[in-house]
């Protein structure tokens, strides 16, 4: 694999406000980068309005002069021959024998694949997993391997529906394997066994089939640096005992950030579990990186900067806004559910988990990392229609929270974009909408628990077990298409680091005051009002930054005055063994 060298965008100090008027919109680009460099634009008086996500709708907003707007990098070119690249990776693995060298007739092979949470949105066919599975299954057949099962590594995510699986693996594999030899993982299954505990007492559990098998092949799609690596197996194929070792408010609060695995205590914990997995079973890891080409066809204009919109783009955008404005909410959700992303594979590696992941991360950062100098007092982020947890569904208020404080806040390396105690403005209607099929426990979590307490530790200690044991939620998770009963807790914990860091969160365009109150947010009628509200608690002439995402980016924020938190700054991992393995038994906090 060759490494594609990209220009590294960076910023300069904030420029002075414009003093001259010009007929055409002008942009000033830091470092004089070409038109679309994934860099930074400072708005001027004549800058065009910005397209801001607003759930399953958009807003067109004029930003104050001198607002820093951060754009993602342009999509890297896809591999010209992905199938050849996959074969090359299988035959030239990292720190491992080639796949064919591990195969022998009569062996028991399990293949695990990432679920529907990757990539976002669902990609145009053929899905990368289909490409890899086709090649791997052919190789297994060539070597006389017939005992093969494919597990969709859902962990506590919802089970994928048959038509979603068909789209993911392709017609041929689906017809041959579904549903007996291609199925969703079940974290509540009795066929899940503990393989041991780490030196920090974190339990590791896997499906019996995997433990008793001769080889586990994991097929990954890496959308963000948080994904992949040891997390694929140790989390994707785990049960509650293993997941709660890191999916708890204590560990989540110590992640700085999720997108920077070296500074994430969750990844530390997962790595310890992964080490034990790799010592116990033979894992052949296949990872892929994709570019950020989220929109194609009629929506490709959404990949552009507003400065580069032509008349046709503006016409399409305004037509789309008009159409969406006339639709009921459910119809809008249905329309966005149909979007398929033209993602392309930009790298594929195979072999030993950590060695592979290192290569993947390097490529992922090449695609996503954007250098930013200096933190912001006020950040503006549009909340899109999608998150990993609402594919073909609604972005409910708890998911808005995790998108804002969990994902968008954590899209950084180094230091967070927003200063400690600063303000995040999110653009979203924040309505009281839930999908009762996919998110039944979210409804109770939001309406019953959050009004009682927003404290993650109290929620964890007093209520998590109750939801974990709820037979309705278990049934809906195991046989329906619902997220696990404790999933909303995890989503709340994911927001913990962001919650601790942010001073205020203001929702521009909020339609429901009660939703904002329950989340601890402040409603504003529109972005202008939100910015004025944010200025109340910001320093004079605040630094305002808009993150123009998605497509996804990762901010390399440098601020000489702020020292990034290091692993040594963390507290000790949460030890469940000392509490008899029962979360309710944890005392002394919350």
């Amino acid at each position: 694999m060759t490494t594609q060298k990209l220009p590294s965008p960076s910023t300069t100090a904030r420029p002075a406000p414009a003093t001259t008027k010009s007929a055409a919109p002008r942009i000033r680009r830091d470092n004089k980068q070409p038109a679309w460099d994934g860099g930074i634009v400072h708005t001027e008086k004549n800058s065009p309005p910005r397209v801001l996500y607003y759930g399953d709708d958009f807003r067109l907003e004029n930003l104050p002069v001198d607002t820093r707007v951060i754009f993602p990098r342009p999509p890297m070119a896809g591999l010209p021959n992905p199938d050849a690249a996959i074969r090359y990776a299988l035959n030239h693995p990292e720190k491992s024998d080639p796949l064919h060298a591990k195969l022998f007739p009569g062996m028991k092979v399990t293949i695990a694949v990432d679920d529907i949470s990757l990539p976002l949105p669902v990609m145009e066919p053929p899905d990368i997993r289909q490409r890899i599975l086709t090649i791997v299954l052919q190789m297994l057949a060539d070597y006389g391997v017939t005992d093969i099962e494919i597990i969709i590594a859902t962990a506590f995510h919802r089970r994928m529906k048959d038509w979603e699986v068909r789209h993911m693996v392709g017609e041929k594999i689906f017809n041959e394997y579904w549903p007996d030899r291609l199925y969703n993982h079940d974290s509540e299954s009795e066929e899940l066994d503990v393989i041991g505990t780490t030196e920090k007492n974190e339990i590791v559990e896997l499906p019996r089939r995997v433990i008793e098998g001769d080889l586990l092949i994991y097929v990954n799609i890496n959308l963000v640096p948080m994904d992949g690596g040891n997390k694929s197996v140790a989390v994707g194929l785990a049960g509650y005992k293993a997941l709660r070792a890191h999916h708890n408010p204590y560990t989540m609060a110590e992640c700085h950030s999720y997108m920077d695995p070296k500074r994430s205590s969750m990844h530390d914990s997962v790595d310890r579990q992964g080490k034990l997995v790799n010592e116990t079973i033979d894992v052949f890891h296949i990872e892929t990186a994709i570019n950020n080409n989220m929109y194609g066809g009629a929506l490709s204009f959404l990949m552009k900067r507003e400065e580069d919109f032509n008349d046709m783009d503006w016409m399409k955008f305004k037509g789309m806004m008009y159409g969406l404005g006339k639709m009921p909410a459910d119809a809008r959700t249905a329309v966005f559910s149909r979007i398929k992303a033209p993602y392309e594979m930009i790298g594929v590696w195979a072999g030993q988990t950590e060695a592979v992941h290192e290569k993947t991360l390097e490529r992922v950062y090449q695609q996503y990392a954007v250098s930013v100098k200096g933190q912001a007092d006020i950040a503006i982020m549009g909340m899109p229609f999608i998150s990993p947890y609402n594919v073909h569904s609604i972005l409910n208020p708890v998911l808005v929270q995790v998108l804002a404080q969990g994902y968008m806040h954590n899209l950084y390396r180094g230091v967070p974009l927003v200063k400690k105690g600063g303000t995040l403005i999110i653009s979203h209607p924040a309505e009281d909408r839930f999908d009762a099929e996919q998110h039944p426990s979210y409804i109770e979590f939001f309406h019953r628990l959050l009004p009682i307490t927003k404290d993650s530790k109290v929620l964890h200690k007093k209520y998590e077990q109750e939801f974990a044991d709820n037979p309705i939620y278990k049934q809906m998770y195991r046989t329906g298409n619902a997220y696990h009963g404790v999933h909303p807790f995890y989503m709340w914990y994911w927001g913990e680091a962001g919650r601790k860091h942010m001073g205020r969160i203001i929702v521009a365009g909020a339609k429901s005051q009660s939703v904002c109150e329950i989340l601890g947010y402040e409603p504003a009628r529109n972005l202008a009002e939100a910015i004025e509200m944010a200025k109340d608690t910001a320093p004079r002439s605040p630094q305002i930054t808009m993150v123009h995402a998605p497509p996804i980016l990762v901010l390399d924020v440098e601020d000489p005055a702020i020292k990034p938190l290091e692993p040594s700054d963390r507290t000790q991992p949460f030890d469940f063994q000392k509490t008899n393995g029962h979360t309710n038994g944890h005392g002394g906090e919350g």
């Binding site: 839930f434 009762a436 099929e437 039944p440 409804i443 309406h447 044991d469 709820n470 037979p471 309705i472 939620y473 278990k474 049934q475 809906m476 195991r478 046989t479 329906g480 619902a482």
Partner: protein, 222 residues
């Protein structure tokens, strides 16, 4: 405080209805002539039953159970075993046993509350591992071991199921806020409303709409 899961049976745990069991009883009388006579009689009464079902579920049960008039208690038990093994158990929804098992795993008592004959509910309960004391159905009145066709009050339907749950809660120290209830029909809305964790199971359209508006979980047992 203790906790319990209350299950409606027909339509919730099984695909059968009250009519399925009744049909089996009618078709298995002591001789074919009796069967033909009884079935004909019920066909004549069917408009009455249809109206009763629309008006009031309790009234429907009362009218339906009149068909048992003249059957001996022994026969009801013997044929009841067949009804359960040949009609009800084969028609259990795929996830029904799992749902009851999950309830047990969570240290809750599974309780069956049905408008069916108590004889059938207890027999089905035995097949599902539910204790006899936790199975409730409608009780027929017997005179010298022969059913009179009347149902002993209270007729277990609609609000009476909710009343039974409240009574059980008092007697057995159940914390209703922590109890669960499962049903498929709006007739059981009172039973669902009385507990802290109601769920609509394979709901009929009206209950589905109600569950959606009340944000009760909807389970498809398949």
């Amino acid at each position: 405080m203790n906790r319990a899961c209350f299950f409606d049976v027909d339509g919730t745990l099984t695909r059968t209805s009250l009519m399925s069991a009744m049909g089996y009883y009618l078709m298995n009388q002591t001789n074919p002539l009796f069967s033909a006579f009884r079935i004909a009689k019920e066909l004549v009464r069917s408009p009455q039953l249809a109206v009763a079902e629309v008006l009031d579920r309790g009234l429907f049960n009362e009218k339906l159970f009149m068909a048992f008039a003249g059957m001996s208690e022994d026969r009801l038990h013997v044929v009841g075993d067949e009804v359960v093994d040949r009609v009800m158990v084969p028609n259990l929804f795929k996830g029904a046993r799992g749902l009851i098992e999950e309830c047990r795993k969570s240290n809750m008592t599974p309780v069956l509350i049905s408008g069916s004959l108590d004889i059938l509910v207890k027999k089905l309960g035995a097949r599902l591992g539910v204790f006899e004391d936790d199975c409730f159905g409608n009780r027929l009145e017997f005179l010298r071991n022969v059913a009179t066709g009347r149902v002993l009050p209270p007729i277990l339907a609609g609000p009476a199921k909710a009343a039974l749950i409240r009574r059980l809660a008092t007697e057995r120290n159940y914390d209703l806020n922590q109890c669960f209830a499962y049903s498929d029909d709006t007739a059981d809305a009172p039973m669902l409303s009385v507990v802290g964790h109601p769920a609509a199971v394979n709901p009929k359209p009206r209950l589905r709409a109600m569950a959606q508006s009340q944000r009760w979980p909807i389970i498809e047992l398949g």
